[in-house]
Amino acid sequence: MNQEETEMISRCQQGDQEALREIYDRYQKKVYRIVYGVVRQREEALDLVQEVFIKLFRSIKNFKGRSHFYTYLYRMVMNTAIDHTRKTGKHFISSLDEEGSFQPSDEVEKGPERILLHKEAEEKLKWAMEKLPAEQKAALIFREVEGLSYQEMAGAMGCSIGTVMSRLHYGRKRMQELLKDYMGAHGQGGDTSSAPKAQKSPKADEER
């Protein structure tokens, strides 16, 4: 945490709304990306961004500066987003049936094929994300969307690096299983822990 950020947080802790504005300017996109990654719905994501910063303004006094500020903030963001999905239950109205097959609406069917494909990809992804346990979903979003390191993720999730790696591994595996028909040639059914089926390549033969 640099001096400028420390000062900004300190001012915000004293109730300075302008300091909150500076924090907002600095973190707005990151916060939005995380909440959008969880809820995958624009209006809900914007409401959650608002909720997070109001919550932050009220509770920033509890931040003692023992950890990085962003890990404190990211944890709050993820908890808020996941609590929201728990409260609203399975809110996602999908065009996918129980098996995850896409059932295009009339509106989409009439549109160009590109829109249909984009829509299908989004729907399929939302459907798969809904099936993940909250911790695995959080790990995937922190890593794949925000690009946090294992260390940073451990700080934000309040767990060990080993747990982070395990959550990431099982999250990816489950997603690949769920999206195997969609992911094309590279979908391996998600098994990244066991040896792949041997595929002969000239170089591999040479090695043997």
Binding site: Q28, K29, Q50, I54, I141, L168, M183, H186
Partner: protein, 170 residues
């Protein structure tokens, strides 16, 4: 080869997440050049990352964040606690009573209460015969009964002729 594959696969996620050591990187990169199966596993991880990340990035680019800030600012302002002076003023302030038309039902309620109270206060107390004075005088020709109410406003005299059979009030 299979042994090397399983060894590399254990490191592949670390490598993909840029958490592998230099030694591990060398091992993985060397293996990936000769093993399309392991390379496929890596590519499937890349594909999943793209699937998750790209729509989020696109959504974030389209957003109008200053508008969201205005909403936050408004919400914080409305939730702010008033100072002790402001809260005292608001407690002493009776203007809402005049602004809102509370006085109409208030006056009506007061009038009803007054009417009920007045009825209770001015209600006449009933007199009881037991509390009145009764005097009875006997003679050969007439029997007389004098009844006088307690407050002496009403006096009734009963005159009975002869026997009780022919008695009549006068």
């Amino acid at each position: 080869m299979q042994d090397l594959c399983s060894q590399v696969l254990k490191l592949l996620e670390k490598y993909f997440d840029q958490e592998a050591t230099d030694k591990e990187k060398l091992l993985v990169e060397g293996h990936l050049q000769v093993c399309p199966a392991c390379l496929d596993v890596l590519r499937s991880m890349e594909e999943l990352r793209t699937l998750i990340k790209v729509p989020v990035e696109a959504a974030a680019r389209e957003e109008d964040f200053p508008w969201v800030w205005q909403k936050i600012e408004r919400e914080i302002r409305s939730q702010r606690k008033p100072t002790w002076l402001q809260s005292l003023r608001s407690r002493l302030d009776v203007s809402p009573l005049f602004k809102k038309k509370i006085w109409i039902p208030a006056v009506a309620t007061l009038a009803v209460l007054l009417m009920i109270t007045a009825q209770l206060i001015f209600k006449e107390t009933p007199s009881y015969p037991g509390l009145s004075d009764v005097e009875y005088v006997e003679s050969e020709d007439y029997n007389v009964m004098v009844y006088q109410s307690e407050n002496q406003k009403v006096t009734v005299i009963w005159l009975f002729e002869g026997t009780e059979k022919g008695a009549s009030p006068s």
